[in-house]
């Protein structure tokens, strides 16, 4: 479990760099067919990277505190601890704090697995981007209200809310999600354009026959 956590952390830390390199490669490739292949490969990689972000976040929130064994009781402690972090944002009533604290890690787990499978990526990627945006908005409001609290994202060492956390979230988490969303949208448009083009000679020959 610890090794898995470290792999996920590495992907969350360096994944955006891999994607940026991939974007440069896409821009350098001239051949449309080759470009599409590169984009498809990058979308798979991007899905894994963004999925890793959410899986790492879920893992960070649900794993037992150091020194506690893996068990449901220990996970309850971790989720109760996360509830305290959500509460520190002073955005929600206690009943909603609990609902968010106990729903969010499972949602992140589900979204992470969904992203990694690359199934219906045109839905999963924008959802991921929106979720990250929501989290960044929460951090921003906490910062401007003068709260000096842990961001509570569960990824890597605790980080205080502020510009550093926003920069990290923007670069390492939001950027890959946005790139995957754009890439999926671009590929879908290309595929539709190709389908329209391949249907066009058939239509014109039909018209000629008539």
């Amino acid at each position: 479990m610890r090794v898995l956590g470290q792999i996920l952390l590495w992907l969350t830390d360096h994944g955006y760099q891999l994607l940026l390199v991939g974007v440069v490669v896409v821009l350098l490739v001239r051949n449309p067919q080759s470009r599409r292949k590169v984009v498809r490969a990058l979308l798979v990689l991007g899905g894994i990277i963004v999925g890793s972000v959410f899986l790492a976040a879920a893992y960070g929130k649900m794993k037992p505190p150091d020194g506690f064994p893996w068990s449901w009781a220990s996970m309850r402690i971790s989720l109760a601890w996360f509830a305290m972090q959500v509460d520190s944002y002073k955005l929600l009533a206690p009943s909603l704090v609990n609902a968010v604290a106990h729903f969010l890690p499972y949602f992140e787990l589900f979204l992470g697995v969904w992203l990694i499978t690359c199934i219906w990526q045109r839905f999963s990627a924008p959802i991921a981007a929106l979720a990250i945006c929501g989290f960044m908005i929460a951090i921003t409001t906490a910062y401007f209200r003068g709260l000096k609290i842990d961001c509570g994202c569960g990824i890597g060492p605790p980080e205080e809310v502020g510009p550093a956390a926003l920069l990290r979230d923007g670069l390492k988490f939001l950027l890959p999600a946005v790139l995957v969303t754009i890439g999926r949208y671009w590929l879908r448009r290309r595929s539709r354009a190709d389908a329209a083009l391949s249907a066009a000679p058939l239509i014109s020959s039909t018209q000629a026959t008539n």
């Binding site: 505190p65 150091d66 020194g67 506690f68 009781a73 220990s74 309850r76 402690i77 989720l79 109760a80 601890w81 509830a83 305290m84 972090q85 509460d87 520190s88 002073k90 206690p94 704090v97 609990n98 709260l147 000096k148 609290i149 842990d150 605790p158 205080e160």
Partner: protein
């Protein structure tokens, strides 16, 4: 300078914590330690360490809170989580041991002075009363520094006089005057109470405390991650319950 002060402080005897009233006893929380037998009375009075804790040190959960009395978030934590905790049966039943540590911040003009008053009160068993008075009236005394007014109004005159006598040599600024510099006001060389404050600050630096309030929760000797910010009592209670159900 801070290290020197910390080294010069007589080590706070563990007996101080363990002499905190047992659950269900009639003594109020924060009562001063009993005199150890055979110790000269004058030396004991000089060396009496402030008791700034609630509950039994043998409780499975220990919560150490680093606060500044002029910090609004610390007041929020006290009002929304710590006061309900103190009033609940978690401390009385020996489930939770709550320890306060002073960590006055430089940007709070009267925070250090408030900590001095708190330590003075803790030496004579008035910790809980003064703590509540400081937080309840924070909006008022943080304007002009007239801390003693609100402490005096929260207890009988005789009790206040005992606290005031502990403040001898602390050279606190008169109300309404601004200290030349916080460092100068804080490091009054003849104030014996500063040693306890610096001891707490040194402990906080080791964690490290980067903002207030910061809390460290330990369960049966196992330290949990350091937390910061406020929370409400229902959420804190839920966390304690999850630990106790282990």
């Amino acid at each position: 300078m801070v290290l020197c002060l910390a080294a010069a402080v007589p080590a706070r005897p563990q007996a101080t914590s363990s002499s905190t009233p047992a659950a269900g006893s009639s003594k109020p929380a924060g009562t001063a330690a009993k005199k150890p037998t055979g110790t000269p009375a004058r030396a004991t009075a000089q060396l009496a360490a402030p008791v700034k804790s609630y509950g039994l040190s043998t409780a499975p959960i220990k919560m150490e809170v680093f606060t500044d009395y002029q910090c609004p978030s610390c007041r929020s934590l006290f009002e929304q989580a710590l006061r309900p905790l103190i009033q609940s049966d978690y401390i009385a039943q020996g489930k939770v041991y709550l320890v306060h540590h002073d960590f006055p911040l430089p940007m709070h003009m009267y925070g250090y002075q408030a900590a001095r008053w708190l330590n003075a009160a803790a030496r004579v068993g008035q910790f809980s009363t003064v703590e509540a008075a400081l937080y309840d009236n924070q909006n008022f005394w943080q304007v002009d520094g007239n801390i003693q007014k609100y402490i005096a109004s929260s207890m009988p005159a005789a009790d206040f006089k005992r606290i005031e006598s502990q403040m001898a040599g602390c050279q606190y600024q008169a109300p309404g005057t601004k200290p030349a510099s916080l460092t100068t006001a804080a490091q009054a060389p003849h104030c014996p109470l500063d040693a306890y404050i610096e001891q707490d600050r040194a402990l906080g630096m080791k964690i490290p405390v980067q903002s207030t309030p910061t809390y460290v929760i330990t369960y049966k000797g196992q330290k949990l991650p350091v937390g910061s910010g406020t929370m409400t009592w229902p959420i804190l209670k839920q966390f304690f319950d999850s630990l106790l159900s282990q």
